[in-house]
């Protein structure tokens, strides 16, 4: 009987991670359509934002080129990390599959996070297709320096951790209400708007900006992209990363707490 060491833990999670990306690759046609869809979306995004900026050099201090590039990158990121579709948890709770998950030698949280991580990696080709389209149309520009690139990649990783955790947290309401369609719609709309995936936070009304900037959602897409475009320096940059990290830690703790409550509520449905 293997002892629970770091290596057995990682091997166990590798299994779920593989399950995640293999499940995406199992539906090749779907992936292919997704790629085509993103090429179209990236193209339209570039065209529409360029039209919007006609006659304006800058809006809210942001130049046309930056705004267009932001929109394309946000669309790519959103396609890869698609925060509201990852967790199969609500469906598994509803179908009673959750019982099977609970007799695995890894915690339900790590199973879900590892599998969602795998799904995300499986969807990387979508983001790549959007990025290539953006580059081909001359709409996406690289960060000012290699350092900016590296820091924004770190920030993206924190953003992804944030998305996966919040997503699982929202999914866990299924233990209380079973049908979480309504909550998911609210979450989907809220996160798309508040994360800056639809509209960069630069363009939000001034009274709303300070509120949004403290919420966990802005850490998902707006924070890494604002670093990419070099709009953050010094203390602001460090503060952004620190806030992202703090949110990940808080959300992860919250996840543990919610799961501890949920476990007592498990009623495996249907015999």
């Amino acid at each position: 009987m293997p002892v629970d060491t770091l290596s057995t833990r990682l091997t166990g999670l590798r299994g779920f991670y593989r399950a995640g990306y293999q499940s995406v690759l199992a539906y090749r046609a779907d992936l292919l359509f997704g790629i085509v869809g993103l090429v179209i979306q990236a193209t339209l995004t570039v065209v529409v934002w360029r039209v919007l900026f006609t006659g304006h050099d800058q809006v809210a201090g942001i130049g046309s080129a930056t705004a267009v590039a932001y929109a394309v990158l946000a669309a790519c990121l959103q396609a890869v990390v698609m925060p509201w579709q990852f967790s199969s948890l609500p469906l598994r709770v509803m179908r009673g599959q959750i019982g099977v998950d609970m007799i695995r030698p890894r915690s339900l949280i790590s199973q879900n996070l590892a599998q969602a991580g795998g799904t995300m990696v499986g969807r990387l080709p979508l983001g790549a297709a959007g990025l290539v389209t953006g580059l081909a149309l001359g709409a996406v520009k690289a960060p000012h320096s290699v350092l900016d690139l590296l820091v924004s990649v770190v920030s993206m990783a924190l953003g992804v951790a944030n998305i996966l955790t919040i997503n699982l947290l929202v999914s866990m309401t299924a233990f209380w209400t079973l049908e979480i369609g309504g909550i998911m719609i609210l979450y989907r709309f809220g996160s798309a708007f508040l994360s800056g995936a639809l509209i960069p936070l630069w363009f939000m009304p001034e009274w709303l900006q300070p509120i949004i900037s403290w919420l966990p959602f802005q850490a998902q897409i707006y924070a890494p992209l604002s670093i990419w475009f070099g709009t953050r320096h010094g203390a602001d940059l460090v503060g952004t990363l620190a806030l992202q990290l703090a949110w990940v830690m808080v959300l992860f703790l919250l996840l543990q707490l919610v799961w501890r409550r949920a476990v007592h509520r498990v009623v495996v449905l249907g015999g």
Binding site: R14, A19, P105
Partner: protein, 335 residues
């Protein structure tokens, strides 16, 4: 003792909605809850290496008990120890000790080929590659997985999927295997394969098996001891043979003849329960007259072409037990 259950109780509570006007709307606000007791203070023990049948009608509390034994549900009160651990308290360690097949649900990955599911399980239980290959090879042969191991689970037939699930539960060689209705909905051949496999892993590998089923053939072929529960309480715990002996107070003998009218048949040791020209069924009490005596009496006096003694039917016994719903004192090898 590998499993010890003492005074195990599980209550479920749900909002108590009284029917009537605006029942749906009221259900959103009601704080009243209705408590149902699914398992009501049961105790039993299971020995290492046993193959035990866990029976009961629908809604008896079988699955709830199994879910507490596997650590999925937290009991309301009472204790359970499985291989020295409290299953719901140390869920992860318990997971390495047990395997489970729930007939109605699968642990396989729906979108992926069966082989990928096995590889995920290999990773999950940190199996070394050589052991994995050997064991998968053995199981593939035992259950004829070859023809569908590379097919996505969603395309498998129920029988194939169930065989896949059994392998998934046994790959990492758990000490205990829970089987919750593993043969439900399967054809005779698939049932046979699964029973063969279960018998093999119990006798050949010493795995303790807890089998929940409604199929009395499963029980007769596999289990020596059964625990029968209903309304959350134990009705019977003990030997299958003893259960039959207690309930079956009469046995039937069927005779066939061509040279005389079977309706004229009679015996001092048995009563005719039905008869037509070519066939008669007689019933006798085995406690009073031994079967060979009845057979000898009939064959010596009549030119009989064929004769068969009917085995007591477990299905009838269980039906009677479920209908009467009174606990039977354990006899035989039960704990």
């Amino acid at each position: 003792m590998i499993i010890e259950v003492a005074d195990l109780t599980k209550d479920f509570s749900r909002p108590d909605v009284r029917p009537g006007r605006f029942a749906g709307t009221r259900s959103l606000f009601t704080r009243a809850r209705k408590v149902t007791r699914a398992v009501d203070g049961i105790s039993f023990q299971i020995d290492d290496g046993e193959l035990i049948g866990f029976l009961g009608p629908n809604g008896a509390g079988k699955s709830t008990t199994i879910k507490m034994l596997t650590g999925i549900l937290v009991p309301t009160s009472g204790t359970v120890t499985v291989a020295g651990q409290v299953p719901w308290r140390d869920r992860r360690r318990n997971a390495r000790t047990i395997g489970a097949v729930f007939g109605q649900r699968t642990q396989l990955w729906y979108d992926l080929p069966l082989r990928n599911s096995f590889e995920i399980i290999r990773d999950l239980y940190s199996m070394d590659p050589a052991t994995y290959r050997t064991r998968l090879g053995e199981f593939t042969e035992l259950l004829d997985l070859d023809e569908f191991i590379d097919t996505p689970v969603r395309s498998l037939s129920l029988g194939q999927r169930m065989r896949g699930d059994l392998v998934a539960a046994m790959l990492y060689a758990p000490r205990i295997l829970y089987l919750d209705e593993p043969t439900v909905g399967l054809d005779v051949v698939a049932k046979g394969k699964i029973r063969e496999f279960v018998a093999e892993i119990n006798a050949g590998r010493g795995t303790t098996v807890i089998l929940t089923t409604h199929d009395m053939d499963d029980v007769e072929r596999l289990c020596r001891r059964v625990v029968i529960i209903d309304h959350g309480k134990i009705l019977y715990e003990g030997d299958v043979g003893m259960l039959k002996a207690q309930y079956v107070t009469s046995r039937d003998v069927v005779v066939h003849c061509t040279d005389f009218d079977a309706t004229t048949i009679s015996s001092p040791f048995a009563q005719v329960v039905s008869a037509d020209t070519f066939k008669a069924t007689l019933r006798f009490d085995p406690e009073v007259t031994a079967a060979p005596k009845v057979v000898h009496d009939l064959t010596s006096r009549y030119p009989i072409t064929d004769l068969s003694l009917l085995e007591p039917d477990l299905e009838d016994v269980i039906r009677q037990l479920y209908t009467e719903r009174t606990p039977v004192p354990a006899r035989g090898t039960g704990a």
